[in-house]
C-alpha cells in the first residue's frame, strides 16, 4: 500500500536526531530512541554540549503540531523522544529570562495546523507506549479537552471547549433529531439534539473532539433530554465562556477505553489509546505537589474556579472618569453566593496571560466548589482541567 513509502528508514527508527538551540547557537547530536535515559542525564548532556555547565535551563521542544512544549521530567522527555520523527528540535532558555508565554502557543505554528488533542483519537494500537504522566499544569496552556473519563460510560464523551482568549469562534451548529434508547420496554425512539455542522477553523472542529451527528446529552452537567432545540441553544450560549458538552459520539470507534483496575485516573491520553495513568488529577493539587512558586496572578489563570465560573469577574465598569475597570467583588460576597470565584481578577494581565505558563500552588486544592446544589454541577468540577 501507499503507506509503505512513508515508513521511515531504519536509521531514524533506531536513533533520534537532536537539534538544540541556545541563544544563537545550534548543537546537533543524536540519541538512541530505545534507550533515551533519564531526564537529569539528558539535562546534563545539554549543558555539556552547549558548554554552559552552571546555567539553569528551561528546555523546550517543538512537537509535531508546532507547539513549544517543555521538557522538565522523565515523562515529557520520553514523550519528546518518542514523537520526534526524525528530528527533535530543542529550544533552551536561561531560566531567569525565560519567556513563559511562548510555551503552548502557536508560536511555532507551521502552515499546516493540526490539532493537538486529535492525537487522542488517532487509532494507533500498534505501538504500546509507556504511560505518560501529565506534567505540571504550568507547563501547559489550557486547551479543549476530554474530561471525566473516569465517571462516564465509555460510549460517552465529555468535552470542555476552552475558548479563553481565543479569537476562534466556537463554530458548531446543533439540530433536532431522534436517537434510539434502550428501555425496559425495549428499544425506543426518543427526540435528541445533535451536532449538525462544524465551522471550518472553528474551535469545535479544531479540537477534533466533537463531530457532526454526535448526540448532545448534557450541557455543563445538565441533561438536555426534554429540552427544546432553542433551550439547548440558549444554555450553550449562556455557558459559552466555559462550555462543557457531554456527547455520545456518532463514531464509537475512537472511544477511550479504561483499564478495569483504574485508580480514578483521569484521561491523560496523549496516544490514541489512553491508558490509565495511575495518578489521579487531584494528585497534582495537593499542597506537596506545588513545586514552583510563581506570582499569584499567574496561578489564577488556572484556578479551577475560574474555569468553572463564567464571565463574572469580567463585567466591565466604566466610572465617570472614563477608566475601564473590571468589576471587583464585594467583600461580603463569597458567603452569600458560593459559586462566585474568590479572587481579584487582573484584566490587564489577560492579554499576556492567554496560554501563559502558570504553576500550581496549594490554592488549587479547592478544586470543587463546596456547596453547589446540583449534583450535575459538581460532576463537571471533578474532571481534569488540563489534558494534552
Amino acid at each position: 500500500m501507499n503507506k509503505h513509502h512513508r515508513v521511515p528508514s531504519n536509521r531514524t527508527l533506531s536513533s533520534v536526531e537532536v537539534k538544540s538551540k541556545f541563544g544563537a547557537e545550534f548543537r546537533r547530536f543524536s540519541l538512541d530512541r530505545s534507550k533515551p535515559g533519564r531526564f537529569d542525564e539528558f539535562y546534563g548532556l545539554l549543558q555539556h554540549v552547549h558548554r554552559i555547565p552552571n546555567v539553569d535551563l528551561l528546555v523546550g521542544y517543538a512537537d509535531v503540531h508546532g507547539d513549544l512544549l517543555p521538557i522538565n521530567n522523565n515523562d515529557n522527555y520520553h514523550k519528546a523522544i518518542s514523537v520526534a520523527s526524525p528530528l527533535l528540535r530543542l529550544f533552551l532558555q536561561r531560566k531567569e529570562e525565560a519567556d513563559y508565554s511562548a510555551f503552548g502557543t502557536d508560536s511555532l505554528t507551521r502552515p499546516k495546523k493540526t490539532v493537538l488533542a486529535a492525537v487522542l483519537l488517532r487509532p494507533d494500537a500498534n505501538r504500546k507506549k509507556p504511560p505518560v504522566i501529565i506534567s505540571l499544569p504550568r507547563d501547559f496552556r489550557p486547551v479543549s479537552s476530554i474530561i471525566d473519563v473516569d465517571i462516564l460510560p465509555e460510549t460517552h464523551r465529555r468535552v470542555r471547549l476552552y475558548k479563553h482568549g481565543q479569537e476562534k469562534p466556537l463554530g458548531f451548529y446543533i439540530r433536532d433529531g431522534s436517537s434510539v434508547r434502550v428501555t425496559p420496554q425495549g428499544l425506543e425512539k426518543v427526540p435528541g439534539i445533535f451536532i449538525s455542522r462544524m465551522v471550518p477553523g472553528g474551535l469545535a472542529e479544531s479540537t477534533g473532539l466533537l463531530a457532526v451527528n454526535d448526540e448532545v446529552l448534557e450541557v455543563n452537567g445538565i441533561e438536555v433530554q426534554g429540552k427544546s432545540l432553542d433551550q439547548v441553544t440558549d444554555m450553550m450560549i449562556a455557558n459559552s465562556h466555559n462550555l462543557i458538552v457531554t456527547v455520545k459520539p456518532a463514531n464509537q470507534r475512537n472511544n477511550i477505553i479504561r483499564s478495569s483496575g483504574g485508580g480514578g485516573g483521569a484521561a491523560s491520553g496523549s496516544s490514541g489509546r489512553s491508558s490509565d495513568s495511575g495518578a489521579s488529577f487531584y494528585g497534582y493539587f495537593t499542597p506537596g505537589a506545588a513545586i514552583v512558586t510563581t506570582p499569584a496572578h499567574i496561578i489564577q489563570n488556572f484556578h479551577p474556579e475560574e474555569l468553572e465560573s463564567d464571565e463574572d469577574e469580567e463585567d466591565l465598569v466604566i466610572e465617570a472618569d472614563g477608566e475601564a475597570l473590571p468589576i471587583p467583588r464585594a467583600a461580603s460576597a463569597s458567603c452569600s453566593m458560593p459559586s462566585l470565584p474568590r479572587y481579584e481578577p487582573h484584566l490587564n494581565l489577560r492579554s499576556t496571560a492567554n496560554g501563559a505558563l502558570a504553576s500550581s500552588t496549594g490554592s488549587l486544592s479547592t478544586v470543587s466548589t463546596p456547596d453547589r446544589g446540583l449534583e450535575g454541577r459538581s460532576l463537571e468540577e471533578d474532571g481534569t482541567l488540563i489534558t494534552l
Binding site: 475558548k163 469562534p169 466556537l170 463554530g171 458548531f172 451548529y173 446543533i174 439540530r175 433536532d176 449538525s196 455542522r197 469545535a204 450541557v219 455543563n220 445538565i222 438536555v224 429540552k227 427544546s228 432545540l229 432553542d230 433551550q231 439547548v232 441553544t233 440558549d234 444554555m235 450553550m236 450560549i237 449562556a238 455557558n239 459559552s240 465562556h241 462550555l243 463564567d310 464571565e311 463574572d312 469577574e313 469580567e314 463585567d315 466591565l316 465598569v317 466604566i318 466610572e319 465617570a320 468589576i327 471587583p328 467583588r329 464585594a330 461580603s332 460576597a333 452569600s336 453566593m337 462566585l340 446540583l374
Partner: protein, 955 residues
C-alpha cells in the same frame, strides 16, 4: 444537630412559601376567539357561547361567568339549554352531544360535563343517517329531538341520553304521508329545523331542507299537517298563539302559513322577499314576537340583495312602520330576543346578537333602539392590541376623573341596565381599584377597570388627533341618507383597520398620583398627557430628539416621522397631550418611563435613549447606543431580512397571479402554472434540505440590535458616593450594557428656569452580553425603591437611606446584584445556564401572606420564554416557586404578559382575550357565582317558554 435545625428552617420556609404563593388561572377577560354557537335560557337568564376550539362559556349578570372545555378539540355548533333546568346540551362538529350542568359546591356553582352521547344508526347505514343537523330541547325537560342529515328525527331521553327507538320519526314514515302533488317523490333532504308548538307541547314541526314542513304529533306518532313550501328551507318559527308558522328560505323570501285546526294541508297566507326585485341572499333565521298592543316585532337575519349588499352582515328589525337593517361589523353567528315579564313572555326588550368579533345588545324599548354597553365580552381587539400597562391601587380621585371623562364618551349608549341578570355574583368586592391600559394599533389607549371579574371599559384616549393622517375624520358620516334602501344602521365597535400603522401605541406609563400619562408609538413619537376635566384647545409642542448624535454613514430605510398638526387642536375632557418628542430616526419606541416628581420622561429606541424635561419642554440628554457596525438596526424594521416566509408568500402570489392570468387570457396558461409550481417546489425542496439548526456562538458586541434600549429606570440613590443620594437615570440595552447618569435637578422654586442636567456616572458591560430587561435599586433594607410620589402621598414607607443600596440588573439570562455606589458583584442567580429558559417579562410585586395580614415579601415575578412563571425573592435573588403557565409556542401570549404590583398578571390567549392569573396566595380575583333554578315553574299552558329558538347550525 445542625442539619436537623436546618431542616426545620427549610420546612418553615416551605410553609411561608405556601402562604405567599399560589398559582391560579382565574378568569378570561374579553371576547371569545372564534365563537361558533349561541344559546340562551330565559328561565336562568344565562347566555352560553360555544367556540370553535370547543370551549363553552356561560354569562349571566355582571360577574357571573362560567367556563368549560370539551375534551374533544372540535367546534361547538349548537348550544341548547334544557327548559327550566340548569342543564345544557352542546353539539360538536364531530357529531357528539354533551350534557353540562351547573352544580352548586360550597355555595358556588361550577360548570361540569355530566354526559356525552353519539347517535348510532342501524348497522351498515351511511353516517349521514345519524349526522345531527337540528336539535330541539323539548319543554317537558326530559326529551331531546335530534334531526339528522338523513332526514330522520331521533328521540332521546335526557339527562341520561337514552334512545327511545320506538318513537323515532323516520323519513319513511313522513314520506308516506306526503301529499302526492308535492313535487314527486324526491328526497325531503335533511332536517333543517325542529320547533315545538308553543301551545301544544305534543306537537312538533319538522322542517326539511327541501322546503316541506310537517307538524307531527308525538302521541299518535303521525303527521297532523303538511306545509308544502318548495323553496330551500333556512329556518322556521311558530308564532306564539300557535296559529301561524313562518318559514324563511334561501332565495331571501319568507312565508307565513296558517296552521289552525286539524286541516291536513296548510295554506300560504303571505310570501314576501323583503329586499326583493333582484336576487337576494338567504334569510337564515326568522323570529316574530307579539307586543301588548300593536303589530309584532319581526327579526330577519340576512336576505340582502346579493349583488349590491351581499357582503353585509345584517339583521333586519321590523316593527310597525320602523324598519332598520342593523349592519354588523362581522359575520352573524346567531341572535335571540330577551322578553320582559316574570316568565319572560312579555314585550321584547332587547335583541342580543353574537357576531364573530363582538356581542351587541340592542335596547328595543328606547326610542332609536340604542346599543346597551356590555359589562363583559367586550371586544378588546376592536383595534389590535399592541401593548398593555397595569396600574394597581388607583387613588379614588383619579378614578372618578377618568370615569367621568369616559362617561362623556358613552352618551350614545342606552341608559337601561344590562338585561342579562342570571345568577348571583358572590365574589367579594375588589380590595382596590386597578386599571389596565391597552395600547392599540390605531393610536388609541383604552382604560379598563380591572379590579374585578369584569373587565369594564372606562375611557378611551385617541392620540391620532395630534398628527396629520391620511384619514378623513368625516369618513363615517356618509351613512343614513334619506330614503336609502335597505335602511342600514351601523352597529358595533370592532374596527380592525388602522389608518396609519405609525400611530400604533408601543409603550404606556401612567403616574397614578399626578395623573400624568406618557405614551409612545411606532414612529418614535412620545406624547406627554395630563388629565383635564375640561375640553381645551391647544397646540402640541414637538421636540425632535436626534438619537444618532452625529453617527454617520447610515440611512434610515424605515417609515417617516409623523407629521404634527400645527394649528391648535381641540381635545375633549380627559387626558390631553401637551408635549411631544419625536425620535430621529423614527424607530419604534422600545422603553419608556415617567417620573412625575422630577417631571422627566425617558424613552429609548433601537438607536439610543433620551431624557426629556416636560416642565421646560426640552431634551436634557440624548445618548446614542448604536454600534457603528450595526447596519441592521440603523436601516429600520427588517429592511434587509428576507424571510423564508416572505419568499414563500411571494411564490404563492406568483402562482395565484399566473392562475388569474390563466383565466383572463387563456394563453400559455398551463406552461406558466407549471413553471410557477416548479419554482415553488424547488424552493420548498431547498428548505427541506437545510434542517433547522442553531448556531452556537457566544454573543458578540457586533451582533445586531445590541444598542436597542430595553429598559429605563429612575432612582434616587447613591450613584457616585456613599454619603449623598442623588437622582439618577439607568438604561439597559440589548447588548448587556447598563448606562447610569447622575441627574441634577434645580430646587423646586427654580424648577421652571434652571436647567436639569445629566452627567454620565457609570457604564456596566455584562460579560455575558445578554439583553438587560430590568434594572432595580434596592434600599438599605433590601426593598425596591418606592414609586415617585408614593412616599409623598403617604402610601409607602420612605426608603432606607442609611444602609447601602444595591443595584439589581436583570438580564435575559441571569439576575445579578451589585453594590452601590461602587459597582461590584454581590450575588446572582443564573437562569439560562441552568435550564435554558430566558427572562421575557419581569415585574416587582408584593406578596401578602394568607395567614397574617401584616406579613409580606417583595419579589420579582418573571415570565420566561418557555412560558413558565417564576417568583424570585428580594433582595436574596433566590428562586422561590415555578409554575408552567403559557405554552412556549405561544409567542404572542408570552410577549403580551403584564404583571400587577400584587402578584397577578394578564396575557393574551387570543387576539381578543386576556387570561388573568394570580401568583399570590392572598390576592386572587376569580368569579364566584351561584345559579339556582327558580322554584316557580311556569305552568305548561303558558305560551312559549323558550323563545331562544334552535340555533341555526353554522359550519
Amino acid at each position: 444537630m445542625k442539619r436537623f435545625r436546618r431542616h426545620g428552617q427549610e420546612s418553615q420556609r416551605e410553609r411561608i412559601k405556601q402562604e405567599l404563593y399560589g398559582f391560579n388561572k382565574t378568569v378570561e377577560h374579553g371576547f371569545p376567539h372564534q365563537p361558533s354557537a349561541l344559546g340562551f335560557s330565559p328561565s336562568l337568564q344565562l347566555l352560553a357561547i360555544g367556540t370553535r376550539s370547543g370551549a363553552i362559556k356561560l354569562y349571566g349578570g355582571p360577574g357571573v361567568e362560567f367556563m368549560g372545555l370539551h375534551d374533544e378539540n372540535a367546534a361547538v355548533t349548537q348550544v341548547h339549554f334544557l327548559p327550566h333546568q340548569v342543564e345544557l346540551v352542546t353539539l360538536l362538529d364531530d357529531n357528539s352531544l354533551h350534557m353540562w350542568t351547573l352544580r352548586a359546591h360550597h355555595g358556588v356553582s361550577e360548570l361540569l360535563e355530566i354526559g356525552r352521547f353519539t347517535l348510532t344508526g342501524p348497522p351498515g347505514a351511511p353516517p349521514s343517517v345519524t349526522r345531527v343537523t337540528a336539535v330541539l330541547a323539548h319543554s317537558s325537560g326530559d326529551l331531546l329531538l335530534l334531526g339528522t342529515e338523513g332526514g330522520h328525527v331521533f328521540i332521546v331521553k335526557v339527562p341520561g341520553f337514552r334512545e327511545l327507538e320506538e318513537r323515532n320519526i323516520s323519513l319513511e314514515k313522513v314520506t308516506n304521508g306526503v301529499p302526492e302533488d308535492y313535487g314527486g317523490r324526491r328526497s325531503l333532504e335533511h332536517v333543517e329545523s325542529l320547533q315545538e308548538n308553543p301551545v301544544n307541547p305534543r306537537q312538533v314541526l319538522i322542517g326539511y331542507g327541501r322546503g316541506l314542513m310537517v307538524i307531527w304529533d308525538l302521541d299518535s306518532q303521525s303527521a297532523v299537517t303538511h306545509i308544502p313550501a318548495t323553496q330551500q328551507l333556512e329556518s322556521v318559527w311558530w308564532t306564539e298563539d300557535g296559529g301561524h308558522v313562518l318559514s324563511s328560505h334561501s332565495d331571501g323570501s319568507y312565508c307565513r302559513w296558517k296552521v289552525a285546526g286539524d286541516d291536513p294541508q296548510s295554506e300560504q297566507e303571505k310570501s314576501e322577499v323583503p329586499y326583493g326585485h333582484f336576487p337576494c341572499k338567504a334569510i337564515s333565521k326568522i323570529i316574530q314576537l307579539p307586543t301588548e298592543q300593536g303589530p309584532p316585532f319581526l327579526f330577519l337575519s340576512g336576505g340582502m340583495p346579493r349583488a349590491s349588499y351581499g357582503d353585509r352582515h345584517c339583521i333586519s328589525v321590523i316593527h310597525s312602520k320602523t324598519h332598520v337593517a342593523l349592519d354588523f361589523t362581522s359575520r352573524i353567528i346567531d341572535f335571540f330576543v330577551i322578553r320582559d315579564g316574570p316568565y319572560h313572555t312579555g314585550e321584547p326588550s332587547a335583541l342580543v346578537v353574537l357576531v364573530e368579533e363582538e356581542l351587541v345588545v340592542i335596547d328595543l324599548q328606547t326610542e332609536g333602539w340604542p346599543v346597551i354597553q356590555t359589562p363583559y365580552l367586550v371586544p378588546l381587539h376592536c383595534s389590535a392590541i399592541t401593548c398593555s400597562h397595569h396600574v394597581s391601587a388607583i387613588p379614588l380621585k383619579l378614578w372618578e376623573r377618568v370615569l367621568s371623562a369616559g362617561a362623556l364618551q358613552n352618551t350614545h349608549y342606552s341608559k337601561k341596565p344590562w338585561p342579562m341578570t342570571g345568577g348571583q355574583n358572590l365574589a367579594p368586592d375588589p380590595p382596590q381599584r386597578d386599571l389596565l391600559l391597552t395600547g392599540h394599533e390605531d393610536g388609541t389607549v383604552r382604560f379598563w377597570d380591572a379590579s374585578g371579574v369584569c373587565l369594564y371599559p372606562m375611557y378611551k384616549l385617541s392620540t391620532a388627533g395630534v398628527f396629520l393622517t391620511d384619514s378623513d375624520p368625516n369618513d363615517n358620516l356618509n351613512q343614513g341618507t334619506e330614503g336609502e334602501w335597505p335602511p342600514f344602521r351601523k352597529v358595533g365597535c370592532f374596527d380592525p383597520y388602522s389608518d396609519d400603522p405609525r400611530l400604533g401605541i408601543q409603550k404606556i406609563h401612567l403616574c397614578k398620583y399626578s395623573g400624568y400619562l406618557t405614551v409612545a408609538g411606532t414612529a418614535g413619537q412620545i406624547l406627554v398627557l395630563e388629565l383635564n376635566d375640561e375640553a381645551a384647545e391647544q397646540t402640541v409642542e414637538a421636540t425632535v430628539a436626534d438619537l444618532l448624535q452625529g453617527q454617520e454613514g447610515f440611512r434610515w430605510k424605515g417609515h417617516t416621522r409623523l407629521e404634527v398638526r400645527e394649528e391648535p387642536v381641540t381635545f375633549p375632557p380627559g387626558f390631553q397631550p401637551f408635549a411631544l418628542v419625536q425620535c430621529q430616526p423614527p424607530a419604534v419606541v422600545t422603553a419608556l418611563t415617567l417620573h412625575s416628581e422630577w417631571k422627566l420622561v425617558t424613552f429609548g429606541t433601537s438607536h439610543g435613549f433620551g431624557l426629556y424635561d416636560y416642565q421646560q419642554k426640552n431634551n436634557v440628554l440624548v445618548r446614542c447606543t448604536l454600534n457603528p457596525s450595526d447596519q441592521l438596526a440603523m436601516e429600520g424594521p427588517l429592511s434587509r431580512v428576507k424571510s423564508i416566509k416572505k419568499s414563500l408568500r411571494q411564490s404563492f402570489r406568483r402562482i395565484r397571479r399566473s392562475r388569474v392570468s390563466l383565466r383572463k387570457h387563456h394563453v400559455n396558461n398551463a406552461a406558466k402554472l407549471q413553471q410557477a409550481n416548479a419554482r415553488l417546489e424547488a424552493e420548498l425542496a431547498e428548505m427541506e434540505l437545510a434542517p433547522v439548526q442553531r448556531k452556537i456562538e457566544p454573543r458578540s458586541p457586533d451582533d445586531s440590535f445590541t444598542g436597542l434600549v430595553r429598559t429605563l429606570y429612575f432612582a434616587d440613590t447613591f450613584i457616585s458616593d456613599s454619603s449623598h443620594n442623588t437622582p439618577s437615570l439607568w438604561a439597559g440595552t440589548n447588548g448587556g450594557s447598563v448606562f447610569a447618569y447622575q441627574l441634577r435637578l434645580p430646587p423646586v422654586e427654580r424648577r421652571g428656569e434652571d436647567p436639569v442636567t445629566a452627567h454620565p456616572a457609570k457604564e456596566i458591560q455584562l460579560m455575558h452580553r445578554a439583553p438587560v430587561v430590568g434594572i432595580l435599586v434596592l434600599d438599605g433594607h433590601g426593598s425596591p425603591l418606592p414609586e415617585p410620589l408614593e412616599v409623598a402621598h403617604d402610601l409607602a414607607r420612605s426608603p432606607d437611606m442609611q444602609g447601602s443600596h444595591s443595584l439589581l440588573v436583570i438580564s435575559e439570562e441571569q439576575f445579578k446584584v451589585f453594590t452601590l455606589p461602587k459597582v461590584s458583584a454581590k450575588m446572582k442567580l443564573k437562569l439560562t445556564a441552568i435550564d435554558g429558559s430566558r427572562v421575557r417579562r419581569v415585574g416587582v410585586a408584593w406578596f401578602g401572606s394568607t395567614r397574617t395580614d401584616d406579613y409580606g415579601e417583595s419579589g420579582l415575578t418573571v415570565l420566561t420564554n418557555q412560558g413558565d412563571l417564576h417568583v424570585v425573592s428580594l433582595p436574596g435573588v433566590k428562586l422561590q416557586v415555578q409554575y408552567p403557565c403559557i405554552r412556549r409556542e405561544d409567542v404572542s401570549g408570552i410577549a403580551s404578559c403584564v404583571f400587577t404590583k400584587h402578584g397577578q398578571g394578564f396575557y393574551l390567549i387570543s387576539p381578543s382575550e386576556f387570561e388573568r392569573f394570580s401568583l399570590s396566595a392572598r390576592c386572587v380575583v376569580e368569579p364566584r357565582s351561584l345559579v339556582e333554578v327558580s322554584s316557580e315553574t311556569p305552568s305548561t299552558t303558558l305560551p312559549r317558554a323558550l323563545p331562544d329558538g334552535a340555533s341555526v347550525e353554522r359550519r
